[in-house]
Symmetry: C2
Subunit: 228 residues, 2 copies
DNA sequence: TTTGGTGGCATTTTCGAAATTATATGATAA
DNA sequence: TTATCATATAATTTCGAAAATGCCACCAAA
């Protein structure tokens, strides 16, 4: 396994570790996260543990109730649908702006991110199940969607996209035994890439919505709300 | 001043206090927020102070850099424009869903929220400047926009709206000597209310976009991006 | 059986200080 | 004068323990 963190401080790398395990379903939805217990697993003090949990609350990956401590957010298909819909809105708008503003260098980075992603997806497709690849796929998927909106010129939008991605991911690993991977994912990502490189904002928006909503359908959820 | 907090714990009420002062421009954009200094103003320990700041980071009202401490986010018209645009997207969608799902009780609450808001705005309109009313106006404005999306059925969207409102508010108090209040605000809020009560989602979306974008124009910023 | 209270235990919250790391100051050499 | 390095100061990070609070089982009274 490659190095998981780039942080120098204890709390920084702890945060990265916690994020990783939360995004890979190590803890069950609704489970309580007690600093006093967790400190044993991570080898830090309860205070540092509390600080990391507090930061994760800000990212929406952990919930906290006053005087009642921390817990893993409950998971449901309804919540996943909410987050996916917001993702579709934010990413569509971000991609639209990126297509408007992005330069050649952006296209190159998008290409690179898609190349990495499709490489991993190929390997996931080949053999029935390679659970050890999922973390790499998650990272590559996130990076592709990140680069897609990277030239949008709005750091607030980028922040929000990252936040939504992680929160949706957490729901997915709790709801889907396949961790969200499907064979259809491969051509869908390709569609997004090609629409973006062709500078076709409308097609790109369609491809993104199709990608996220086909994913919803696979989980037997109502499709994304169509405009009335 | 009425009671500012409903929290029982020290940290909880401290968080409310800090949020209040940050949203009212007590600290300058870019200013460093040192727990050791702030603890004197608020009468708590540095650790508790740190915890409150950490939570505010999660809300986007404070920034933190590893090994370099906390600071007030920089303010600029560009950043305000970003946040306002996201607000428009999120609130339009939330209002659309509320109009779809909201019942009579929702209409009643929206009416009540608008009544309170318009009452305060009337008083702000009458006399040239009543800076002591601004906090009340801010709260009423937030509550109106909150109720507007309250029946949307997506708690994620509600969370996000609240977050964006506060972050935008922080930018406004830093950029606008009038704290964002204009006489045009009054009819704009009324338009939103009437469109919502008439269950006219398209008109409501238009009214929201007009409201937020006319505000942008007043600050001499480029108008919100029109769909290409 | 149910209701209301009481005590003990686990957890959360808060604090103050030690350890680590950045930042500013000033001295020395090129 | 400029650059580099050591030193001193200030700030952040981390810890362990004390105080406050919630939770739960148990008992008594109705």
């Amino acid at each position: 396994m490659t190095q998981l963190t780039s942080s120098t401080t204890t709390g920084g790398s702890l945060l990265d570790q916690m994020r990783f395990v939360l995004l890979n379903g190590q803890y069950l939805p609704g489970e309580k996260l007690r600093p006093d217990h967790l400190k044993l697993s991570f080898g830090v003090s309860a205070g540092t543990m509390r600080e990391a949990l507090l930061r994760l609350v800000g990212e929406g990956l952990v919930e906290v109730e006053e005087q009642r401590g921390f817990s893993v957010p409950a998971a449901s298909l309804a919540r996943l649908a909410e987050l996916t819909k917001l993702r579709a809105m934010i990413e569509s708008e971000g991609a639209r702006l990126s297509i408007q503003n992005g330069d050649l260098e952006w296209e190159a980075r998008l290409n690179a991110a898609h190349y990495k992603l499709s490489h991993i997806e190929q390997r996931l497709n080949d053999s029935a199940s390679k659970p050890e690849l999922i973390p790499f796929w998650t990272r590559a998927d996130n990076e592709f969607h990140e680069v897609l909106v990277d030239a949008c010129g709005s750091s607030s939008l980028r922040e929000m996209r990252s936040n939504l991605f992680h929160r949706a991911r957490q729901q997915i690993v709790a709801c889907d035994p396949n961790f969200g991977f499907r064979t259809e994912t491969v051509p869908e990502h390709a569609d997004i890439l090609h629409a973006a490189l062709a500078r076709d904002a409308a097609a790109c928006e369609l491809a993104i919505t199709a990608h996220l909503s086909s994913f919803q359908n696979a989980l037997n959820v109502e499709p994304l709300n169509k405009s009335s």
